[in-house]
Every structure is written in structure tokens, then in C-alpha cells.
């Protein structure tokens, strides 16, 4: 298979049935994302960011159009193959962290490795290494409710990376964090992206985060109005307006 694009979306539509009404969450998205890229999906709330990421991560099925993951059309995969894809190829990070509350940070990070059939010892070793990398070496054995928001999100990042995915999808990872912590989290994500070569798609409405992205796609009402390289965006984090 050709690996030129990590993700290629061709005319992707998603329509939700809200009672009598039909709501188009995505209107014909076309987008290509190359390996190793830190791609920012920028858009206000309600613009379809979560729906977009759900399509890319095979969490939901598009109404129309096709998503290609490393050249493979997702519609050609069955339920089990999609689960394998999520287990081996994709890591998710959420606004609400979504850690399993009853187990420790370390055990949360080992979860994806269970699905990849790693032995207990290997899982532990790898999880410890990653938790050290995200700066949580002394909080490993705490449960999520004993960690701050920023720490929980670091655990979530470690969990997303543990399975050595080729793509990480971060859905407003800074949404529940204060500005400074949020910035540190995205910075960490970017560092990890460059260290490991994993592709990152980060959705946000916070324009202060654009400086960290390689490429930015502007999402408005379910449409990508434009995709730019960071250098082409003529705004700086201190003086921001949304180009239309």
C-alpha cells in the first residue's frame, strides 16, 4: 500500500437525524494529511470538529464519501478490522480525559497494550517509560481522581502513545484546562509528534495554539474553508482574527 497520506478524505458528509430535521454536520470534506504532520483543525464549537475526528478515527461511519487510512478505504473494513485499526493505528485524546477511573495511571496506560497482546512485564515497562517521558514518574500509581486535570491529560497522552499508533486524534485536549496547562499539553503533544514521527490531528477553537501547528485547516459549519501551512497564516498568536 502507498503510504503517501496518513489520511485522505474524499467528499465526506455526515448527516444527523435530529427528530424531524436533518442536520449536516459535515458538508463534503476533502483533506489530505501526510505522515508526521501536526495538523490543527481550527473551528468554533458546533463547527463539526468532533464529528470530523470521529470519521477519521473510524469511531463513526460517514453518511457519504470515503475516508482512506494509509490508503485503505475504511468502508471496506468490517467491525473487527475497524477495532484492530483503533487498537494498533490510532490513539485518542479527549477533552474530558476519559480515563478509566478505578485503575491507576500506569494501568490506564497499559490498557491499549492489553489489546495488542503484550505480556504483563512488557506492558509495564513501556507504560513506565512513556509516563516518565510525559513527566509523571512520581504519580504513576495514583488513580485519575487523585490527579489534576493537566496530569490526567498527560496520562491520556501517554495512553494514546502507548500502542505506537501512526495517528493521534486529539479532540479539544485543552478544553477543560487553564490556558497555561493547555498550552503545555499541546506543546508536549507537538514534541512527541516530532520525536516519534506520529501524525497528530488536534482540534481546537483556541487561536493561541496555531503557532504549534505545521498545518491548519479552518472548519466552519462542517466545511473546510481552507488549509494552510503555518507560515502562510498571516496572523500571530497575539493578534488574531479568523480568516473567512
Amino acid at each position: 500500500m502507498s503510504d503517501e497520506t496518513t489520511i485522505k478524505m474524499v467528499d465526506v458528509w455526515k448527516t444527523y437525524q435530529m427528530g424531524e430535521e436533518k442536520v449536516d454536520a459535515l458538508h463534503g470534506i476533502n483533506l489530505e494529511i501526510t505522515p508526521g504532520e501536526f495538523h490543527c483543525i481550527m473551528g468554533p464549537s458546533g463547527s463539526g470538529k468532533t464529528t470530523f475526528l470521529n470519521m477519521v478515527g473510524a469511531l463513526d461511519v460517514p453518511t457519504k464519501g470515503e475516508v482512506y487510512f494509509e490508503g485503505v478505504p475504511l468502508s471496506s473494513l468490517n467491525k473487527k478490522q475497524l477495532a484492530s485499526l483503533r487498537a494498533y493505528k490510532v490513539g485518542f485524546i479527549f477533552q474530558t480525559f476519559n480515563l478509566v477511573p478505578v485503575i491507576s495511571a500506569l494501568e490506564n496506560v497499559t490498557l491499549p497494550l492489553i489489546f495488542q497482546k503484550f505480556s504483563r512485564k512488557e506492558r509495564r515497562k513501556r507504560a513506565e517509560t512513556i509516563l516518565e517521558r510525559v513527566g509523571l514518574e512520581d504519580r504513576m500509581h495514583h488513580t485519575p481522581d487523585e490527579l489534576s486535570g493537566g496530569q490526567q491529560q498527560r496520562v491520556a497522552i501517554a495512553r494514546a502513545l502507548a500502542g505506537k499508533p501512526s495517528l493521534i486524534l486529539a479532540d479539544e485536549p485543552t478544553g477543560n484546562l487553564d490556558l497555561k496547562t493547555g498550552f503545555q499539553i499541546v506543546e508536549l503533544l507537538r514534541e512527541l509528534c516530532h520525536e516519534t514521527g506520529v501524525t497528530v490531528i488536534n482540534s481546537t477553537h483556541d487561536l493561541k495554539l496555531i503557532d504549534l501547528a505545521d498545518k491548519i485547516s479552518w472548519l466552519r459549519d462542517g466545511e473546510i474553508t481552507r488549509t494552510q501551512k503555518r507560515l502562510e497564516v498571516s496572523i500571530s498568536a497575539s493578534n488574531v482574527t479568523i480568516p473567512v
Binding site: V72, Q81, R86, A87, V100, P101, V102, R159
Partner: protein, 200 residues
């Protein structure tokens, strides 16, 4: 076209560990969930113990047939109760199910995870209920026979008592597993996106 990835695996041992962690961390809540099953099983065990004692003592008024009907009805009621508890317990954790699916969990993994937890809860409920029931069955006959007389009866029938405990465990496990299956199946069938979006 295919990505040629192996199927995700979720070993029984890991499920057991996660279920155990869950019951331990939410112990009080789990105990309340198990209360329905504890009471039903205790009632059954008490009646059967009492009938064992009365039978051995050749008492004139033994355990009547209608009392066994009562046991049956109480088990049905306790099944209703446990179904309700499990429905709520699963509903509370739909988001968590979404997370498991995001990191590669199959529908069948999720169902099995919940069934394993239900079985553990069943062992807990059946064990406590069975022991309580036997003690209670002993106590309610104290006004008729002496403590020593009954102790001898129970000692002579220790195998039956063990069988009674095993029966309690078995019934309890079957009932909790059945009660969990339907809500777990339903939640596991949601697409990961739906499960993550779920608000309770």
C-alpha cells in the same frame, strides 16, 4: 484491501483483574447492587436449612410446600431487583465502554467484561447470602430445639450444607449474569462515537 492487523485481544485474566479493581474501588456501591441477590439467596438458604433441621428432628409441622413457592417468588423478585441495578450500573459506564472501544475493544470483549464482573458480584452475593441464610435458618428454630441438638444435625449433614452453599453461589451467579447480559449487549452495540457522546 486490508491493513493486515491482528485481531485485538482481551484475555480473561485481564478482565478478571479489571472487574476486581472495579468492585474493590466501588465496594459499597457493589454491595448495594448485590443486596437484592443477597436477600433472595439468604431467604432460600434459610428455608432450606430450616427444612433440613425439621426433617432431621422429625418434627410434625415441617416446611410446607407453599413456602417453596415463596422461595421461587423471592428469587424472581430478586432477579427483577438485580436487573434494575445492573441496568443502572451499565448505564453509568457507557462512556467507559466508549473508551474501551476506542482503544480496540470488540463488542464481545465489552459484554464479557461485564459478565465477568457480574459473576464476581454473584459470588459475593451468593456467598454472603448463603452463609447468612444458613445462620438465619438455624436461629429461627432455636425456640423449638436446643442449640446443641441442632449443631449435631448440621454436623451430620455438613455435605448437604456445602451443597446448599454451592447452590446459592450457582443460582446467584446465573441470575446476575443473566441480568447483566441484556444491558451490556445493548451498550456494547453502540458505535464508539455514540458511546462517548452518551450522557447520563
Amino acid at each position: 484491501m486490508d491493513l493486515n492487523l491482528p485481531e485485538p485481544d482481551f484475555s480473561f485474566f485481564e478482565m478478571l483483574y479489571l472487574s476486581f479493581s472495579n468492585i474493590r474501588r466501588r465496594f459499597l456501591r457493589s454491595l448495594i447492587t448485590a443486596l437484592g441477590i443477597i436477600l433472595g439467596i439468604a431467604f432460600m438458604a434459610a428455608l432450606l436449612t430450616s427444612s433440613l433441621i425439621l426433617g432431621a428432628m422429625q418434627a410434625e409441622s415441617g416446611v410446607e410446600a407453599y413456602q417453596f413457592w415463596l422461595v421461587g417468588i423471592s428469587l424472581v423478585v430478586c432477579f427483577g431487583g438485580i436487573t434494575n441495578s445492573m441496568l443502572m450500573a451499565v448505564n453509568e459506564r457507557v462512556k467507559e465502554i466508549g473508551v474501551y472501544k476506542c482503544i480496540g475493544g470488540l463488542d464481545s470483549h465489552i459484554v464479557r467484561l461485564f459478565i465477568v464482573e457480574a459473576l464476581l458480584l454473584g459470588i459475593l452475593g451468593g456467598g454472603i447470602g448463603g452463609v447468612l441464610g444458613i445462620i438465619f435458618g438455624f436461629i429461627i428454630n432455636l425456640n423449638r430445639f436446643s442449640f446443641d441438638e441442632m449443631s449435631v444435625v448440621l454436623q451430620n449433614n455438613s455435605i448437604i450444607l456445602i451443597a446448599l452453599l454451592l447452590l446459592s453461589l450457582l443460582i446467584s451467579m446465573v441470575l446476575t449474569a443473566l441480568a447483566t447480559y441484556i444491558p451490556a449487549r445493548r451498550a456494547a452495540n453502540l458505535s464508539p462515537a455514540e458511546a462517548l457522546r452518551y450522557e447520563n
